[in-house]
């Protein structure tokens, strides 16, 4: 009993640590700028929705959210389509260079972003993809694909090979087996992989900012314009920040029952 009490206490403390900064942002998003800068108030004196109204009534603001959603979904789709067969290959077969290929895939997460931005910009401009959603989606594949292969490989290895063999004896072709039998068996793995893709693509700013200018500009880059000549518009910035958190909460709500299994990356 003593033990349980200590656990609850510790957990509460950690959750407070996580939530208080977010509360502060939420609190600011309902204030006017002069109140934010004037004094420290734990609850808005003059409660206002103005900041949110500004965002939702101006296309150059809310299109940022749409753009971000578009490239994140594209990234999830592309990543899953290419990573599923690859993960299957890594889990079932031994082939020339498999270990090296796997390590090489992972090394792409390690490149320092700063100096690589210019080559990225040049590369995507030269193939005519600059300022499109697909450019950002493809660039983000650089770190979502390796992770997806890694996660899916764990899940696929959990499916016994007898399943494959039985299906082939029953006369299934490989593509039909893969889509009709195999994918349903690892669907929680697919859900979790999609969640991870979302997680890493949604939060990334540098590449997304570099590869876009107007048409596909992500919300995170649009937020920087709250810094005006008169200083920062804290209220608007907070409201925009709060709105970037909402999609994340929705996504995690959908996968909550698989998260425990999924975060182990199918590897326990």
């Amino acid at each position: 009993m003593q033990m349980n009490k200590r656990k609850t206490l510790g957990m509460t403390a950690y959750l407070l640590f996580i939530l208080v900064p977010i509360y502060w942002l939420l609190n600011m998003s309902f204030k006017r700028n002069d109140e934010i800068l004037g004094a420290l108030t734990l609850w808005p004196n003059d409660f206002t929705f103005d900041n949110y109204i500004t965002i939702f009534s101006d296309p150059s603001w809310y299109m940022g959210y749409v753009n971000s959603m578009i490239y994140v979904s594209m990234n999830m789709a592309i990543t899953l389509v290419v990573a599923l067969p690859a993960a299957y290959a890594f889990s079932r077969y031994k082939f020339v260079g498999d270990k090296h290929l796997f390590f090489w895939l992972l090394t792409n997460r390690m490149a320092p972003p700063a100096v690589f931005l210019l080559p990225f910009f040049q590369l995507y401009s030269s193939v005519g993809l600059f300022d499109t959603h697909i450019a950002v989606a493809l660039a983000h594949c650089l770190f979502t694909v390796p992770l997806a292969v890694w996660i899916l490989e764990g899940f696929i290895s959990g499916v016994p090979r007898e399943v494959d063999e039985t299906a082939f004896i029953d006369g299934y072709s490989f593509p039909r087996f893969f889509i009709r039998i195999f994918l349903p068996m690892i669907r929680s793995g697919i859900g979790v992989t999609a969640f991870f893709c979302f997680m890493f693509s949604w939060v990334e700013l540098l590449l997304a900012k570099t590869l876009t200018s107007v048409e596909a500009k992500p919300i995170a880059a649009i937020m920087t314009r709250t810094v005006g000549a008169a200083g920062i518009d804290w209220g608007l910035l907070s409201a925009a920040g709060i709105l970037t958190i909402v999609p994340g909460i929705l996504v995690i709500w959908f996968v909550r029952n698989h998260v425990a299994k999924g975060f182990a990356l199918g590897r326990v």
Binding site: M110, F120, V203
Partner: protein, 288 residues
């Protein structure tokens, strides 16, 4: 599982290979190309060979930020790994509270990185932020914008806030995978809770911890957005981490050649550390 040798499996891997190669190989070759040239503008560049590499390895400014980077990454790991394990042990195992705490713990991971910077920028301001204001109210002189130590502490605290959840969730899922029978056996043996942790839980957490340590090392080593938003690298150079020093050099001063050379050195360091880590873990697995 025993794997069947079959080189036709390459056809299944080919899409991934092509996709990643498109975004990986061309940029890295471009950077290699920059690193051996002295570039004045688009049409004027001279081949300088390994000169930038020699110069960078002697440059005190970059070595400083490399050192700062290492101490930062190690502090991050030193705090986040034990704290993450502790949080995972404290999280409720089942029921409604489990789902709720799972979602709440995951929130920091889903916030765009510059928003994380913004949150802490406002939260810890001494005049209008709750955290900074409270610290000052209880008599601690705290101002991250002017005091280097405070700035460093704030960036570290922000990272702990942001990423401990990843370790916690990884460990949480690792713990859920331990069969109940293990605990029953431990109860029969009257094992203390420390012994349960040391001999049952920790060994089963190894594989997820490997992933956690690798991800945290790689990401904290190239941290850029959050400290950039929070402190802009200051005061002075106290929170100018490697990525930021490189960006200043490449874009601010347009010294692309040296910056590229140093990026590659830096890339190789990360690669080497990860490779060593991987090899050691693999060797240990084999020894068992």
């Amino acid at each position: 599982m025993k794997k069947i040798p079959n080189n036709k499996a390459w056809f299944l891997v080919l899409p991934v290979f092509l996709l990643v190669a498109f975004s990986a190989i061309v940029p890295i070759m471009t950077v290699v190309n920059y690193s051996v040239q002295d570039i004045f503008d688009q049409n004027t560049a001279y081949f300088v060979g390994a000169e930038w590499y020699r110069e960078m390895l002697r440059s005190p400014r970059l070595l400083d930020s490399l050192l700062r980077q290492f101490s930062y990454s190690f502090s991050v790991l030193l705090i986040e790994i034990p704290l993450g394990i502790a949080v995972a042990l404290m999280m409720p195992a089942k029921g409604r509270m489990a789902s709720v705490s799972l979602i709440l713990v995951a929130i920091p991971l889903l916030i765009p990185w510059n928003v994380v910077g913004t949150i802490w920028q406002t939260f810890s301001r001494a005049d209008i932020g709750l955290f900074g204001w409270s610290l000052n109210a209880i008599g601690i002189d705290y101002n991250y914008a002017s005091n280097a130590g405070d700035a460093w502490f704030t960036v570290l605290l922000m990272d702990v806030w942001h990423w401990t959840s990843l370790i916690a969730l990884l460990c949480y899922s690792g713990l859920r995978a331990i069969p109940e029978a293990f605990y029953q056996a431990a109860r029969i043996d009257r094992a203390s809770s420390w012994a349960i942790f040391r001999f049952i839980q920790l060994p089963r957490l190894k594989s997820v911890l490997v992933i956690g340590v690798l991800l945290r090392f790689m990401d904290s080593f190239m941290i850029y957005t959050e400290p950039f938003v929070l402190t802009g690298g200051g005061p002075g150079n106290s929170t100018t981490f490697l990525s930021q020093a490189l960006t200043k050099m490449a874009i601010g001063q347009f010294d692309i050649g040296p910056a590229a050379a140093f990026s590659l050195i830096y890339y190789l360091i990360v690669l080497l550390v990860c490779y060593l880590f991987f090899t050691i873990i693999n060797l240990q697995d084999k020894a068992k």
